[in-house]
């Protein structure tokens, strides 16, 4: 559990709504994410005075203006660095980092990597809409191959980055996925908050103006059970339904060292050797974030969760030890080294 979680602060969803007019396009997935966050914060007992939303630039990065807490709308890509300074200066603050695929994976990719590598205790919500929205529809580093946009009129030729694979590669100790309108999003956010360390959450978000329904292939309610693999620690990786073509599961292909889809007959998932999700299994996490959608369902929920000591605890702890018993006289500091006296 996150020991920074304030205990006993009672709030309601309304308490987390700021007086600012929300300025996203009508129908934008960001509205649903905002509501999910405002629903989650009272449930985890968050204290508005000790909560800081830090963002970069982009549609998603307007988020802090709409939450009644402390908020810092910084500059493009640099929110992780600003957050690092905030957390190191006051580790009691609970930091939610809001970024997007352009902000966090392109211009700010370097900072995202280092924030995760250092394991600063915060929640990183990366809104992935696979497009640049605020600048009017250019393709982004997560846009699929062949995306046509004002800057790629003939279709993009560079392959997309996978945010979760990137985060895991950077050393993330918590990886989760969700999508804007999913009813499971608050649970994912709660799990991220409970994780002490950098918790990385990729949230697929519908940009209704420039990349409409991009995630409908798995996010549409119809057929969702066949296309969404919701992961739960200690439970078998099952998806599908009797109605739509049978229950299926994810098993290990021992020969090729990869995952495979297996049919589960008579609900006997053990016979089908379906894997039980273990959030501390890093190898399986690597395979889950790389699963090609289509042949496999989209892996969602908490993919990986195995805490390690946080950066601020390590750094500030080291500083505290270094300070123990030290002379803090400025006069002595200034007169350090070899000195000499000039007499009157």
């Amino acid at each position: 559990m996150n020991d920074m979680t304030p205990i006993g602060v009672t709030t309601t969803l309304k308490d987390w709504e700021s007086d600012q007019e929300v300025r996203w396009c009508p129908g934008c997935g960001d509205y649903a994410i905002l509501k999910a966050v405002q629903r989650t914060l009272p449930e985890i007992g968050a204290d508005p005075a000790k909560t800081v939303f830090v963002s970069g630039i982009g549609c998603s990065s307007r988020f802090p203006y709409y939450v009644e807490s402390y908020g810092f709308h910084t500059i493009h890509g640099r929110a992780p660095a600003v957050a690092t300074g905030i957390k190191l200066s006051n580790p009691e603050l609970d930091i939610w980092l809001i970024t997007g695929d352009g902000d966090g994976m392109s211009i700010g990719g370097n900072h995202t990597m280092h924030l995760i590598r250092r394991n600063l205790n915060c929640q990183i919500m990366l809104f992935n809409n696979e497009i640049y929205g605020l600048t009017k529809g250019q393709y982004s580093p997560t846009s699929r191959l062949g995306t046509t946009s004002p800057t790629t009129p003939l279709g993009s030729v560079d392959r997309p980055a996978s945010p979760c694979a990137f985060a895991l590669g950077a050393g993330a100790r918590f990886i989760a996925r969700g999508f804007d309108v999913s009813k499971h999003l608050p649970e994912v956010l709660k799990a991220a908050h409970a994780h002490k360390g950098a918790a990385f959450i990729e949230i697929f978000q519908n940009c209704i103006v420039y990349n409409k329904d991009r995630f409908e292939d798995f996010a549409a309610p119809k057929g969702a059970e066949d296309r969404q693999l919701w992961l739960k620690h200690g439970e078998p990786m099952l998806f599908g339904s009797e109605k739509t073509g049978g229950i299926k599961g994810i098993a290990l292909d021992h020969e090729n060292l990869c995952l495979k889809v297996v049919d589960v007959v008579d609900r006997d998932w053990q016979a089908a050797k379906v894997i039980v999700h273990d959030v501390t299994n890093r190898s399986v996490a690597h395979m889950l974030v790389e699963l090609p959608f289509g042949a496999f369902p989209m892996a969602l929920g908490v993919i990986y969760d195995d805490p390690r000591p946080t950066y601020e605890d390590a750094l500030l702890g080291q500083d505290a030890t270094a300070r123990e018993g030290k002379d803090t006289s400025l006069a002595h500091l200034l007169a350090k080294g070899q000195t000499w006296t000039v007499e009157d």
Partner: protein, 623 residues
Amino acid sequence: MATQLAEPEASSQASPESVVIRFAGDSGDGMQLTGGQFTLSTALSGNDLATFPDFPAEIRAPQGTLFGVSAFQINFGSTEIDTAGDAPDVLVAMNPAALKTNVGALKPGGLIIADSGEFTKRNLEKAHYAASPLEDGSLAKWQLLAFDISAQTLESVKPFGLGNKEALRCKNMWTLGLALWMFDRDRQPLVDWLNAKFRKNPVLAEANIAALNAGHAYGETAELSGSLHKVHLDPVEAPAGLYRTISGAEAVALGLVMGAKLADLQMFFGGYPITPASSILHYLATMKEFGVTTFQAEDEIAAIASAIGASYAGHLGVTSSSGPGIALKGEAMGLAVMTELPLVIVNSQRGGPSTGLPTKTEQSDLYQAVYGRNGDTPMPVIAARSPGDAFECAIEACRIATQYMTPVILLTDGYIANAAEPWKVPDPAAYAPFPARFLTTRNGPDGNLLPYARDEKGARPWIKPGTPGLMHRIGGIEKNPGTGNLDYSPAAHQAMTDARKAKVDGVAKGIPAQEVTLGEERGKLAVVGWGSTFGPIHQAVRRARGRGLDVSHIHVRHIWPLPENLGDLLRGYERILVPEMNTGQFKTVLRDQFLVDAKPYNKTSGQPFTIAEIEAAIEGALA
């Protein structure tokens, strides 16, 4: 005006008030260390001094090459010393390359001490010498003392059984021993230092001490030959008190610690390694007990962004870099201006543009500091004139940043950062505190919160996240005057642009009036400088005045905003000369601000001005 490199002074003093010595060798020969230790022993003997370390950008350039030469110059004496000296009286050359690259600067009649053991065929070729200069008479206008320092060193450390390579590493101590003899210095502090340095390897300590003693003893016996003679310089007249030597980088670090203390704040320093600014981060990393947190960021942008985050959270955020790194921080400086958070940005300038001259000095980032951001983005800029002054300037930067809620740029340069000078240890109690205040209750007229309300100085309140009831949002986007809520309206942008400008302009009301450093408040010529040109300008003006010329020296610390009386002061002179190690940046600012006919005198060779160069420019300006 084109730069005219000075002719070395021809006069040689029988009983000198000051001496300039330059140690030059391969970058692996330990010249910076030799110079540093010689500096310390000079300081301990009570002479005033100034130093100029000059080393290549490569850590270990190929041995014996011209571009691998590392030099350390020190000017010391029994009078006030402001510069590292124009032309050396003594050149210690550890190999042919060191001789070739440095001998041109030596005064006619000056002394060359050369290690003849290194003047081998191969080393001569590497230095592009066709014949050995020690033998072909080409050094005739100087006194030459060449002997095999390498062999002497090997002989002196023989009892310790070191390998050839390790034994030769003691050469610098042998040379230092000789120099200590020449200038009548006590060896004991060096012996103590060597014992401490090699505590874990007493054999190396003994070998180095033996080499030091052997060099010293060589001076005693070589005296008989007549080329070498002992020089004694009396201690300088200095105010009574406790002294130490200090480099600019150390002074900045100490000044920042002091400034944070006076502001009653913890300091957060976000930095990224870059020459010549890294040493500030190195010093601060050892000062945790003074409420300092240091953070080596992933890049220059993260360094400043983390410092902004720290200031937002209620610490004093500080970042530091050199020209190219400062360029990377530009956008984030705009964020600090827009969010009106305190921040100190130290720029240890080096030769530019781009990577430029990483280890050489220049003052070419003044435009960058004053103007170099997008939008109307005013920021106070102050410049240190010397290593010791960097301490005062760092405190001043902390004061302005926290009192006016603004980022402040502190300019030093490679020369100030690396150079050392004696420093009278200040009494911390003599500095007036300027404690920072944080808002704890809503400040609006009807119980609302106004994060962008302004005090009499135009500063907004500092609100720490974590304070109950004061939740609010800030950002780099234009905002409503007062509430700080997002507001793009024409009226809001006009009002906020005006308010940001008025606040920074108002800093001028809280700084001292510009004084004339040397000379009269009106007259024929004012030489106006800023930053590390202080020493050569000051000495040049002093000498010119000694010859009866009507010239005064004005040295400006507050570059932006400028002192309120500066325009009137400048108009009191018939002519204005602005020497700068750039192509005329401060000159442009003065012309723009005061419509005065400021004339430039520029040098961009990566080397500081010599006194003679400025003297010549003064004469030219008065002609």
